[in-house]
C-alpha cells in the first residue's frame, strides 16, 4: 500500500535534494558524511508527515537567508526531535533553492547504532562547537535548540514555556559573524503530550530520558504544527565578550522566540475557530 501523495512527493524530494547547493562527490556524499540517497530515503516519511499528517504551516520563511551562513535558533516542542525533523523538512520543501539544515544533536546520538549513521547521512552532527564553527565557515545553515535536552523534557502543561538557554550558540554566532534566525515551533507539545519522563529507563538506553505519553509510546497525534520564523538577529562582536554581554544577547534571542511563540498561539486560536490556516 502506498500513502497518498508519496509517489509525487518522492519525485519532488529527489529534485529538491538534487538542487541543494552542496559539494557532493561522485559517490553522492558531502564532506560531512551526508548522502543524497539517504536524504531522500530517510526524509521522505518526514516530508510526507510534514505535508499530509501534520499539515505544517510555515510563517515568515523569507527571514531565512537563501544562501550563506546562518543559525536557526528555536524552542523545543515535543518529547522527541520531531521539531528538528519538521524544520529540516521545511527548509527542503519551502525554500527555493532548498537548503539542508544541519542540526546540532545531543551527544548520545553518536553512540546509538543505526541512528548515529542515519543522522550523519542526513547531515545531522553532534553538537560540538568544532562542528558548528566548521559548518558556518562552510556557509551552511545550522539548526540549534539552545534549551538542549531540558527543552524536549517539557511536559504537556509546560509546552509553551522556555527553559534556560545555553550560551554557546551566541558565542559561535558572534565569532562566525552569522545571523541568528529565531523561530517558534508550536504544536509539538500537543502532538506528543508528555505526561512523564522515564529517566532511569532512558539512561539504560544511553539517552537522557524517554518521554511517556498517555498511550505510553511517544507516537505523535495528527496535530497541526506551526513554525514562525522571525527577523534575523545580527550581533556585532568577536565571540570573546564577557559572560554578561553574551547573556544579554542570549536574552534578546530568547525574547524574540518568546514573542514569536505568543504570536503563534494567537494565530493557532484564530486558526482553530476559523478552522483554516491564517497567515499574519
Amino acid at each position: 500500500m502506498q500513502l497518498a501523495g508519496a509517489g509525487s512527493l518522492h519525485a519532488e524530494l529527489e529534485d529538491r535534494i538534487e538542487r541543494l547547493e552542496i559539494p557532493w562527490n561522485r559517490f553522492g556524499y558531502d564532506p560531512y558524511g551526508a548522502s543524497k540517497r539517504h536524504l531522500v530515503r530517510t526524509l521522505l516519511p518526514f516530508c510526507w508527515a510534514y505535508r499530509h499528517y501534520f499539515g505544517v504551516r510555515v510563517h515568515g520563511i523569507a527571514n531565512v537567508p537563501a544562501r550563506g551562513r546562518a543559525m536557526l535558533v528555536g524552542n523545543h516542542s515535543g518529547g522527541i526531535a520531531l521539531d528538528a525533523a519538521m524544520v529540516i523538512a521545511a527548509m527542503l520543501l519551502e525554500l527555493d533553492p532548498p537548503r539542508l539544515a544541519h542540526g546540532m544533536a545531543d551527544r548520545f546520538l553518536s553512540r546509538w547504532p543505526f541512528l548515529a549513521v542515519l543522522a550523519q547521512r542526513c547531515g545531522q552532527m553532534t553538537g560540538l562547537p568544532e562542528h558548528a564553527e566548521r559548518l558556518l565557515e562552510a556557509e551552511r545553515l545550522l539548526l540549534v535548540f539552545p534549551e538542549g535536552a531540558h527543552g524536549t523534557e517539557k511536559l504537556y502543561r509546560q509546552r509553551y514555556s522556555l527553559v534556560d538557554f545555553g550560551t554557546g550558540f551566541v558565542r559561535l554566532a558572534l565569532a562566525a559573524k552569522a545571523p541568528i534566525v529565531p523561530f517558534a515551533f508550536l504544536g509539538g507539545g500537543e502532538a506528543i503530550p508528555t505526561v512523564a519522563n522515564a529517566y532511569k529507563l532512558g539512561r539504560r538506553f544511553g539517552a537522557p530520558y524517554l518521554p511517556v505519553t498517555p498511550w505510553v509510546l511517544p507516537l505523535p497525534l495528527p496535530v497541526r504544527l506551526d513554525i514562525h520564523f522571525g527577523e534575523p538577529v545580527v550581533l556585532g562582536g568577536t565571540g570573546d565578550e564577557d559572560d554578561e554581554v553574551v547573556a544579554a544577547h542570549v536574552e534578546r534571542v530568547k525574547l524574540a522566540i518568546a514573542g514569536l511563540i505568543a504570536h503563534g498561539k494567537r494565530v493557532r486560536r484564530v486558526g482553530a475557530t476559523r478552522g483554516a490556516g491564517a497567515t499574519p
Binding site: F27, G33, R107, E130
Partner: protein
C-alpha cells in the same frame, strides 16, 4: 640537495627515494630490511638506526634533509620492540639531526594519532590531543613518537621540523592498514555503524612528502586527499562484501569464517570515524592531490581482485 630517508625499504620510502634520485638529489637510505633493485644514485646503508653505525652515516653524509619513516606500524610486533624502534628510533634521528647540522627533519606519522571516539569532532585539527589511547593502547608508541618529534619544534629551533599525520593510503601495492582490512573478500563491520574513512592514493602520499621537502614548512600538519567516504562504500567499490556483525559477537568472530584478525582497539576504528582537516598543509605547501578516491580504489581492486569462493 642531500636527503636521508630512514625506513627507505618500505613502500613509500622506496618510491620517494626513486623520485628524489630522478630529480637529481643525492639520496641516502637507512634500513635493516632488504631492498631489491636499488635505484642508481641511492646510497643504501644496512644499519640499525639506534646503533653507532647509523651515527656514522649522519656524520659522513651530513644530510640537509632527513625524512624519518622507520616506524613499525603493523601491530604484529611485540609492543616492547615497537617502543624500541618507534620511540627510540625517533629520538635517535632527531639527536643526529641536531648534532650533524641537518636543516630540515620530517617525521611521517599517521592520522590514527587522534583516535576514534563517539565524542570526537569529525574533522581533526593539528592542535588536538590524542584521545584514542584509552581504547587502543597498542598505538601508544606511535603517538609518543609523534609527540616527541613535535617537541623538536621548541627544543631545536634551528632545525625546521615537519610532523606529518598522513591519512590511510590505498593503491595497487596493497600496502597499509586500509588495504590489509580490504584484502579479503569479506570485510567485517560493526552492525549499525559505518564510519567515514579518509584515503589517498599511495602515489599522492609520496608526492605529499616530496612537497614537504620542497616547501620546508615548520609545524605539525595533517595530510589528506579527497573527502572521506563511508567504509561501506569503500567495501562496495573495491568489490568486497561487508559483513555486519553485532558488537557483542564481533570479538569472537574475527579471525574465523574468513574474516581478518583485528585487535580489540581497532574495533573502535570500525565504529567511529577518524577524519582530518588537511587545509593547513595545503596552505603551507600548496600540495594538491592528483588522484581521486575512485582511482585509488579501482587500482587496488584491479591488483587484488576479491577471491570468490570456488564455484561448486
Amino acid at each position: 640537495m642531500k636527503v636521508l630517508i630512514t625506513g627507505v625499504a618500505g613502500l613509500v620510502g622506496q618510491r620517494l627515494a626513486r623520485q628524489l634520485c630522478a630529480e637529481g638529489h643525492e639520496v641516502i637510505g637507512i634500513d635493516r630490511r632488504r631492498f631489491a633493485d636499488v635505484p642508481a644514485g641511492l646510497h643504501l646503508c644496512h644499519v640499525d638506526l639506534r646503533k653507532r653505525a647509523a651515527e656514522e652515516v649522519f656524520r659522513h653524509y651530513r644530510p640537509e634533509v632527513v625524512v624519518h619513516m622507520a616506524t613499525i606500524e603493523h601491530l604484529f610486533a611485540e609492543s616492547e620492540e615497537r617502543y624500541r624502534v618507534n620511540l627510540g628510533g625517533t629520538r635517535a634521528v632527531f639527536e643526529q639531526c641536531r648534532r650533524h647540522g641537518a636543516a630540515h627533519a620530517i617525521f611521517v606519522g599517521r592520522h590514527t594519532y587522534y583516535g576514534a571516539g563517539p565524542d570526537s569532532p569529525l574533522y581533526h585539527t593539528e592542535d588536538e590531543p590524542p584521545l584514542g589511547l584509552a581504547s587502543y593502547p597498542e598505538l601508544a608508541d606511535l603517538v609518543a613518537a609523534d609527540l616527541y618529534a613535535g617537541s623538536a619544534l621548541w627544543r631545536f629551533p634551528e632545525l625546521v621540523t615537519t610532523v606529518l599525520r598522513v591519512c590511510y593510503s590505498l593503491g595497487p601495492s596493497g600496502h597499509g592498514t586500509l588495504a590489509t582490512l580490504l584484502k579479503r573478500r569479506l570485510v567485517p563491520a560493526v552492525l549499525g555503524f559505518d564510519p567515514l574513512a579518509q584515503l589517498m592514493h599511495e602515489a599522492d602520499v609520496v608526492d605529499a612528502i616530496a612537497t614537504a621537502i620542497r616547501a620546508r614548512p615548520r609545524g605539525v600538519f595533517n595530510v589528506c586527499g579527497p573527502s572521506p567516504l563511508p567504509l561501506s562504500v569503500l567495501v562496495r567499490e573495491t568489490g568486497r562484501r561487508l559483513v555486519p556483525i553485532p558488537e557483542p559477537l564481533i570479538a569472537a568472530a574475527l579471525g574465523r569464517f574468513g574474516l581478518p584478525k583485528l585487535s580489540r582497539g581497532a574495533l573502535g576504528h570500525l565504529k567511529h570515524s577518524i577524519v582530518v582537516d588537511g587545509s593547513a598543509f595545503r596552505r603551507a605547501t600548496g600540495f594538491v592531490h592528483t588522484r581521486d578516491e575512485a582511482q585509488a580504489m579501482t587500482e587496488f581492486a584491479a591488483a587484488f581482485p576479491a577471491r570468490r569462493p570456488r564455484a561448486a
